[in-house]
Symmetry: C2
Subunit: 345 residues, 2 copies
């Protein structure tokens, strides 16, 4: 267990404060805190201690991870989490219980077995917003691979006249894997040409690429993601598309240039919204999102955000416009805030 | 919109019964009911009607989908879902509200804006358990591709002596994509050799393959998944591993042979549990799970299941045993129940 992980646990313990308990089910939250992703693992964190319940096999595997001083590891048995929480409540060692963001059905089951209301508490997810230098370095490497993927996509887009969206996506995913990427998005990379790109989450089809092309891809390095989008217009049939793409590409850069430490996140989102509306479109999705152990994590970059950009926040900016049966345009970079300013990673 | 989709909507409407309303946020549930997967789409189903809220762009894209008679499509605006539900409650047209399985945080937000408790209702997920012939055909094609992937994995495993887990996984994923697969699991295929396979969800590492190898992969065809696991022992250093693998492979086939229409799901799970315990191990995960639009969907195949195997249920059987720092063994096939018996797809 690293000193960074020890610090993370200590910080969350402080946030939890006296007699409160946090149940952690999200494997990425557990990985963040102690470097372990056990199958079916559950964490129970109080201001006093951190108990990690692992299945028998993972319990043995964890033995050499040097967790002993910071984490109490127990073998998971059916009912053990419930019983531990109930005992804590009975003995007055726990007064309130929280859980990270599990599914509604799991939440209701948990409330039923424990017999009281449990609130969702995103304290670990919020801690994950601010990255350490090591995390930023991992994301930077994931960005490096993604950028090579974008470059290859562009090269094939310009040179191959008979390739389908699906097959181009397959080439890029394979290339990025061979460049060391551990994976990409859940549905693979998004890649669509012409009117197909009008779907915001267009999946690659068997259509032969013969028009403007939108590609949205990410790589993963040492468990950390990157996320980029580009729209290539060299082969666009419609000159309007080139004009709009130029507008969105400029807007993306302008947004990134404007971001500074302490700026309200909602401010940049409202700025982009306004610019897009002035151009006769609407921003139909968030302007961006945090990136890290998840492709989409905190902070949400939208008009309702109540957070500020802080040093070492890693996030994307991705303005996009879409016109049904015509086109889809999006530009996106993964950025970090350092020394007061946003810069592309 | 197909007749099958119309029937699905009609069936769910009947299940919902009078004055109840179901909010549908899961894109796969929406796709299942009306063939549309809009970005940020929400469905509101009552015994009377099905309203689909789509963003402006998807609204236009949906225009040619011929939804008109079965689905009322409205443009999504902030607050519109809440307002529609509140109006239904006020006018007495809705008496109770349910939602499909969203995250706890989203559930709590929804309860706050609507101002009453909302229960999770898995009525669409349960309907999805029983597949139509078309769905089974899609899954069969996904199985065909996955089986080719397994075959290639085995060929490379036997012939290439200097390939890493990561690079072998990359080759197989690329091959399956070129064979028409739309994607694989969220974390890519699972592939691990020797003691690495002792992690139940082992991700491919840079280790050169030089021992027994576990591969767990799936393909996706026309939105439907398949899921298979194999353990190759030809290069195993430990003869125990070969013996255990034979046991698990036989157990998997025996389980599949025993399953019949009307059998309690818990019964087969308990049978496998017992056999594995007799051999000195424990089954640390479910014996299997449903497969369809999700890799893991209903039914859960475990000791606590209260469902029975029914005609046209598609599911996997995947017994596995794991020994820390030694090995991991798992065999898995995707099956369907037809004419009273389970058969491998």
């Amino acid at each position: 267990m690293t000193n960074i992980q020890k610090n993370r646990i200590r910080n969350i313990k402080e946030e939890i404060r006296e007699k409160k308990a946090l149940l952690i089910y999200n494997p990425k939250n557990l990985y963040y805190l102690c470097g372990i992703e056990g199958f079916g693992a559950v964490g129970l964190l109080t201001s006093e201690k951190f108990t990690l319940f692992l299945n028998e096999n993972d319990y043995e595997l964890a033995a050499d991870k040097n967790l002993a001083h910071e984490v109490r590891v127990e073998i998971y048995k059916k009912g053990i989490v419930k019983d531990t929480v109930k005992e804590g409540l009975k003995k007055g060692k726990i007064s309130e219980i929280f859980v990270d963001n599990i599914y509604g059905e799991a939440l209701r089951n948990l409330e039923n077995v424990i017999g009281r209301r449990i609130e969702i508490y995103d304290v670990v997810e919020r801690a994950r917003m601010l990255k350490t230098d090591d995390e930023i370095e991992n994301i930077r490497k994931a960005c490096e691979i993604a950028r090579k993927g974008i470059k290859l996509a562009r090269k094939i887009y310009l040179s191959e006249k008979r390739i389908s969206e699906h097959n181009l996506a397959a080439e890029i995913e394979y290339f990025m894997k061979r460049q060391g990427s551990e994976g990409t998005f859940e549905d693979g990379i998004l890649l669509a040409c012409g009117k197909n790109a009008a779907h915001i989450h267009a999946k690659p089809s068997d259509k032969i690429i013969d028009d403007a092309m939108l590609v949205d891809l990410g790589a993963k390095f040492s468990n950390y993601f990157s996320d980029f989008s580009r729209t290539f217009t060299e082969r666009a049939e419609d000159n309007e598309v080139k004009k709009h793409a130029e507008f969105i590409e400029n807007l993306e850069r302008t947004c990134i240039d404007k971001i500074y430490t302490g700026m309200k996140i909602s401010e940049i989102s409202k700025f982009a919204d306004k610019k897009i509306e002035e151009n006769g479109f609407k921003l139909l999705h968030s302007l961006g999102h945090g990136v890290g152990l998840d492709v989409h994590e905190l902070p949400n970059i939208n008009n309702n955000s109540e957070t500020e950009f802080a040093e070492h926040t890693v996030f994307t900016i991705e303005p996009g416009i879409y016109k049904a049966n015509r086109f889809g345009i999006r530009f996106e970079d993964t950025c970090v805030i350092k020394n007061g300013k946003a810069k592309i990673l």
